[in-house]
Amino acid sequence: MRFKMYGSFRCRMVLLLLFLLLDCNFSNCLADTSSEATMHTNNWAVLVCTSRFWFNYRHMANTLSLYRTVKRLGIPDERIILMLADDMACNARNKYPAQVFNNENHKLNLYGDNVEVDYRGYEVTVENFLRVLTGRHENAVPRSKRLLSDEGSHILLYMTGHGGDEFLKFQDSEELQSHDLADAVKQMKEKRRFKELLIMVDTCQAATLFSQLQSPGVLTIGSSMKGENSYSHHLDSDVGVSVVDRFTFYTLGFFERLNMYNNDSLISLFSSYNPSMLMSTAYYRTDLYQRHLEEVPVTNFFGSVMEMIHTDSAYSLLSRKESFRVEIKMSADKSVPDKKRLMDNPSRLDQISELNIEDQHGALKRIWSTIQKEMEKVEDVDAFVSYGLVLIVPLLTVSMWLTW
């Protein structure tokens, strides 16, 4: 008898193992079809100003202008990491305290009432920048300082400051090199932290900074090529320093006439740069980016336009039954993530081990496992529990009457 049972157990085990292997393969295949299968779900912006000291006012103004643009076009503060290396608005030399302008007409106060700086002053270091990109933080770092992107994110990375051939200067004391950046982007790709990445750099010899990049899905544009300098646009004689760089000035000029609903493509942005006005050549690299630039709207990176999925079912907080059913539907529709599979596997392994142990441990285990199975089957938990509670009273009276 025992051997017969064992044989049938073995058959069942083999079948179940085969099923498990098929499951694993299935989930692996799903994981491989990378960016085409994953949906674009959110936009992030990492805006970095790397220079300190009062005479680098224009780099701060560059970053804040882009911050304002990106917020205006829809990206919320939770998905913007703003790194400013020095405080120009409250600098002792600022004639207009708490105000930062990017034009001598002083029309726009960039440092208005809604600026959220995540990394400030001496926190803007190469180490922190690379930690933000790769997501390798200490445990104590708060969520607002982390780039919490996932495989459906489009990230805009804007850097400005002083740079040179294959490097970017941070805080006037250290430098970020092009292979550091390439390595960080490669790690991001490996960890699936972005779907598409746009790197925009406004420094001298900016295009050299991404010469080492090799990861797919990255689009880069720099304000000048190797051997060229990027220049500031104009001097504000009132504030006393140059207030904006040419590249950023013309970028903002492009975006000021746009709003969230415009469909202008990236190619129109890139071709709007006039080398004679910039006094340098704005160079962009598209060999790593699969899509055609004519088809990609600028709001793909600079704004936050989400894809809407319409459902007819009502969304109500208080009825748990519906939400439970909605959960089940959603998990069946989407490409099931590995988590759900992992959850299924242990229960099957448990069943296998149970089948093996059953004839060794006997009746009690069997009873408990049947109770557990019955418990799993119960769907409407609330009603069951309330019936159970109400049932206590008659049970009690009957038992008392029996033992009177």
Binding site: R320, M375, V385, L389, S399
Partner: protein
């Protein structure tokens, strides 16, 4: 003579019921005060385990398909959540918030009082019967015997601690109900009821588990009686008394008279254990189904019993653990947890040996000790043992320091909110002020326990005296 006695009895009954109805009306009046007089925010009344606000939060989390234990607000039983949760949400226009829950607690208090009264009547009946068996003519027919059941019920209902616990929206009336139900069931030798009460009491707050020993003694031996030695002495005296002539019929009388259950009867105890296992399986299955989506039974035990035993919440209360565990080093934390909980456990055996002939009183002492040393005590716990103290009014009539204890309790209950206000709201005091009242309260409880036990043992010694005199007289 008879009509006079009947009218006297009627008067007494009327008097009792008048007071009961008056207490109910008083509670209802207090409930209608705005915001329940802010009693629910007092740390003496609502602890992390008994606060209704936390229960409402747990229920709201459950409605959002999240675990009710997320966020460390609610630490109670999921069954209580299903029972009281929907009531916390229902709001009736023009009535105070949580009116339905308050009504539930008032009903629980009334049921508690009725059960205490019934237990007291049972105890008194058995006690007079056993005294008659001892031929203690003097004691058993004393005209001053006070109906202890009525007194205890009224003490319970009119105790300011009980009223405050009921109006202050704490779930301790329901926990007390479970404990009193188990005691009543054990006194009436109803094993299923006793088992049910014990299982629910342990499930709601872990500490009533120690009441298993009085339960077993109650079911095995019966309710409180004088010590067994007295019955043996009585039998010896009687046998010595009787002349050898009418030996046949006298012997039957002797045997009949000393028919007090010395023998421990195992049947009710085995029934009790069977019913306990049945009820605990029932409760565990219900709980398991309630929390199967939120981590299962192990998560439930970690969050409820684990929370109680490891004292994770150190907010001030009327106990002594919070202050101590706020300053103990992490290295010694587990050791001191074991010490504090062990203090309750190693008092159990000596008391059980000494007081095994009085299981109800033993239960009272256990409840008093556990409500002093439990992790989150509140005034609702002391409401229970002060009510049960009333059951032994006749035996503890000569208790020393009773006036001192009474004044002490009044003083502590007045000073404790004052010190809390000085510490938290005005900032002119510090934690030591409040902890001083907590320590005074613990001291008072200790004195109460010690004095009541010694008064009870003195009473037993007094019972022995006439018998020894009788024996000596003969010899």
């Amino acid at each position: 003579m008879e009509p006079k006695e009947q009218s006297k009895e009627k008067k007494e009954k009327l008097w009792f019921w008048n007071w009961v109805i008056a207490s109910v009306i008083f509670r209802l009046v207090l409930i209608y005060f705005p915001k329940n007089l802010n009693l629910a925010s007092r740390p003496e009344v609502s602890t992390p385990l008994t606060s209704l606000r936390r229960l409402a939060e747990g229920y709201w989390l459950k409605q959002l398909s999240m675990s009710p234990y997320a966020g460390s607000m609610y630490h109670g039983s999921p069954l209580l959540l299903s029972l009281l949760g929907p009531l916390t949400v229902k709001r009736i226009e023009g009535q105070p918030d949580h009116l339905l829950c308050s009504l539930v607690f008032v009903i629980a208090d009334i049921v508690n009082a009725m059960l205490i009264r019934a237990t007291g009547q049972n105890l008194q009946m058995e006690y007079t019967r056993s005294l008659k068996l001892l031929d203690h003519v003097k004691l058993s027919e004393k005209p001053e015997i006070i109906p202890s059941g009525d007194i205890a019920a009224l003490v319970y209902l009119w105790n300011p601690f009980t009223i405050v616990a009921c109006v202050g929206l704490s779930t301790s009336p329901i926990e007390n109900l479970a404990i009193i139900l188990s005691l009543y069931g054990a006194c009436k030798r109803q094993a299923p009821l006793a088992a049910f009460g014990w299982v629910i009491a342990t499930h709601l707050s872990l500490y009533p588990a120690i009441l298993i020993i009085p339960m077993i003694l109650l079911l095995g031996y019966g309710t409180d009686t004088p010590p067994r030695k007295l019955f043996l002495q009585r039998r010896n005296v009687e046998v010595g008394d009787n002349p050898p002539n009418d030996r046949c019929c006298e012997r039957e009388e002797v045997v009949h008279r000393s028919e007090v259950p010395h023998v421990f009867s195992w049947r009710p105890v085995i029934h009790f254990f069977c019913w306990t296992s049945l009820w605990s399986v029932y409760v565990l299955v219900l709980c398991g189904i309630s929390v199967k989506q939120y981590g299962g039974l192990w998560e439930l035990f970690k969050r409820t019993y684990g929370f109680m035993l490891t004292v994770q919440d150190l907010s001030p209360n009327i106990g002594v653990l919070w202050y101590f565990f706020a300053e103990v080093f992490d290295f010694f934390r587990n050791f001191f947890l074991i010490v504090f909980h062990g203090n309750i456990l190693f008092m159990m055996l000596p008391l059980a040996i000494r007081l095994k002939h009085r299981p109800c009183f033993l239960a009272f002492v256990y409840i008093a000790i556990s409500s002093m040393l439990k992790s989150y005590p509140s005034v609702g716990d002391s409401a229970l043992y002060l009510g049960l103290l009333g059951l032994f009014v006749n035996e503890l009539a000569d208790m020393q320091f009773s006036f001192f204890l009474f004044c002490g309790y009044v003083g502590v209950s007045l000073l404790s909110p004052v010190m809390h206000n000085l510490w938290i709201w005005r900032g002119t005091g510090n934690a030591n002020f409040y902890f001083a009242t907590a320590m005074a309260y613990a001291c008072l409880q200790i004195i109460l326990v010690v004095e009541s036990v010694s008064a009870m043992l003195n009473h037993d010694r007094k019972l022995r005296k006439p018998l020894t005199e009788l024996q000596d007289g003969k010899n």
